[in-house]
Symmetry: C2
Subunit: 323 residues, 2 copies
């Protein structure tokens, strides 16, 4: 059993030796650049922890963890193109630095390299893991498309249930799949793997609520993005959709208009309405609710409670995070 920090160091040491080509550099530079702006490696860590719940970590789990991190970065590169995002983790995005063609193709080849990692998994496990990986990948694409569809819609017309379905696919399924794939490689029973998948899904929902909170109430220096970026870009968030439900009709109308507008003071105005309607308090509770449900599923995984300590620590860190 490894504490979170040690697992991260083990992953980084293996992940640093990439298997990408070098020619043409116009294709590979954007990849190395994007992967070099390191994220928190949440998904590969969850994969490794999923394995270690049941057994020693094998090379298979490191390959799966690498595939998942490559896939995640593929989605970031393409999503940033679609969102016209100038910054990611405080640095220029791939397309703003290298141009759209190189970012689009760089994303494509990164997805292929994810499958190249999957193919390093032993034959015994390969078909099952490839199946789980494909199912996750398809849902992530579906979630991103739903997010794009919502972008141009009036927030009053998006039911919270549909929004949660979108977030589930776009964000939660990859966290859930990461733990599940790790668990299967560790030898988890179907029942245990299912509980871990559900743990991951709820953790993902909770994670997204925290993301939405950080966008508005986070420290910009730590978050690496402008505060209120979601408001400025008219993005649909848990906070916005809940405010549309909770606020009195006149405020909901103002809110819908503010989100569509290009007024210079729209971040402040939206925040005033969120404050009037106690949206931050609702979001904190919602985050806690998802986190409790996640923990209930983790509790039901039939292994010694002490083995679950790293996953509990990781979950707590994610929901307390400031960036």
């Amino acid at each position: 059993m490894h504490p979170v920090e040690e697992l991260l160091a083990l992953f980084e040491a293996r992940f640093a030796e990439d298997s990408f080509g070098t020619f043409p550099s116009t294709l590979y530079d954007p990849l190395r650049y994007t992967l070099g702006v390191r994220g928190k490696r949440i998904r590969p860590l969850l994969c490794l922890m999923g394995s270690e719940l049941f057994d020693e970590i094998t090379p298979d789990s490191f390959h799966a963890a690498a595939a998942i991190e490559l896939f995640h970065n593929f989605t970031l590169i393409h999503d940033d193109i679609l969102d016209h995002a100038p910054l990611r983790r405080g640095q220029p995005t791939a397309h703003s630095r290298f141009g759209l063609p190189a970012a689009l193709l760089g994303g494509d080849v990164l997805l292929v390299y994810a499958y190249e990692q999957i193919n390093r998994i032993r034959k015994l496990h390969l078909p099952r893991i490839l199946d789980l990986f494909n199912k996750v990948a398809i849902q992530v694409c579906e979630g991103q498309q739903l997010d794009m569809d919502f972008e141009s819609m009036d927030p009053a017309l998006i039911p919270m249930k549909d929004y949660m379905d979108m977030i589930g696919r776009k964000t939660s399924v990859l966290l859930a799949g990461s733990i599940q794939i790790g668990a299967v490689l560790g030898g988890a029973s179907d029942g245990n793997a299912r509980h871990l998948y559900e743990f991951g899904k709820r953790l993902g929902m909770s994670f997204q609520v925290q993301d939405d909170l950080l966008d508005i109430f986070g420290d910009p220096g730590q978050v690496g993005k402008k505060p209120g970026g979601d408001i400025l870009s008219g993005k649909k968030t848990f906070l916005l959709l809940k405010a549309m439900e909770l606020c009195p009709p006149h405020q909901a109308g103002v809110l819908a208009e503010l989100i569509r507008s290009s007024r210079g003071d729209r971040v402040e105005k939206v925040m005033e309405i969120y404050s009037d309607c106690h949206i931050a308090e609702w979001a904190e509770e919602e985050k806690e609710k998802f986190a409790r449900e996640a923990m209930d599923h983790l509790d039901q995984v039939a292994v010694l409670s002490s083995r679950k300590a790293p996953l509990r620590e990781m979950a707590a860190n994610l929901l307390r995070r400031t960036s």
Copy 2:
């Protein structure tokens, strides 16, 4: 053994039952649309013929053929975005009909569905086929990036050798890989599979020369694109690069300028220079040379000559094609 027409019908019957999701339709409509504008199914046919050289075709080969056709359509969708192409096979391209975001994401999920088909191949063959498929996919992305890199370069500065390397990756490797994958699934020895790969590579080069010829000398009604589209878009082609080599310096200079210009008569002017320098004749010879080399490799495949008839017929059709 099946004649080409029968193989095509067998493929279409299985390929029509797609395994895509339906929700959100904004993601899946562009896929079904693109796949509905049927191409010639060259690559899946080559895969099935590669198998049938050695044995009866098994479901594995149909899955591989489907994966290859899905992959090919993924590259078309993304390439059309990068080339700002309004038409493909005489119909609006996915991005011009459904917008860039849906085409980008539709391409992404199509690539995942290609791997979903690969995962239907029996465990025995899966790691080898996944490896061959990944290697091809990586080179196709590299080739497309090289093509983008060349786009902004002075044609006088692109050595024919580098141009051929680009075409090799972008076009030929997928034809080569299609036959090779089929052959491996049919039980080909390593030596036979290698000869078939080389057959496919030369066939691909020959195919590309024919493509370049058709762009200028083809019947627009049959080709489905405007004549001289490569000239209008300033694309580097076999014809252009060879003309830069063969024409006297003053004409090469005029040619380089014409390609960069937006003159309304540039297609006619470029065609005049091609005619003066006998570029069409050179291209016809080059096409024949690649085709002969391809056939030499096919001859060396150690199976009864009569089993090679469909591949020979297919190759001849490709090089005589008018669209």
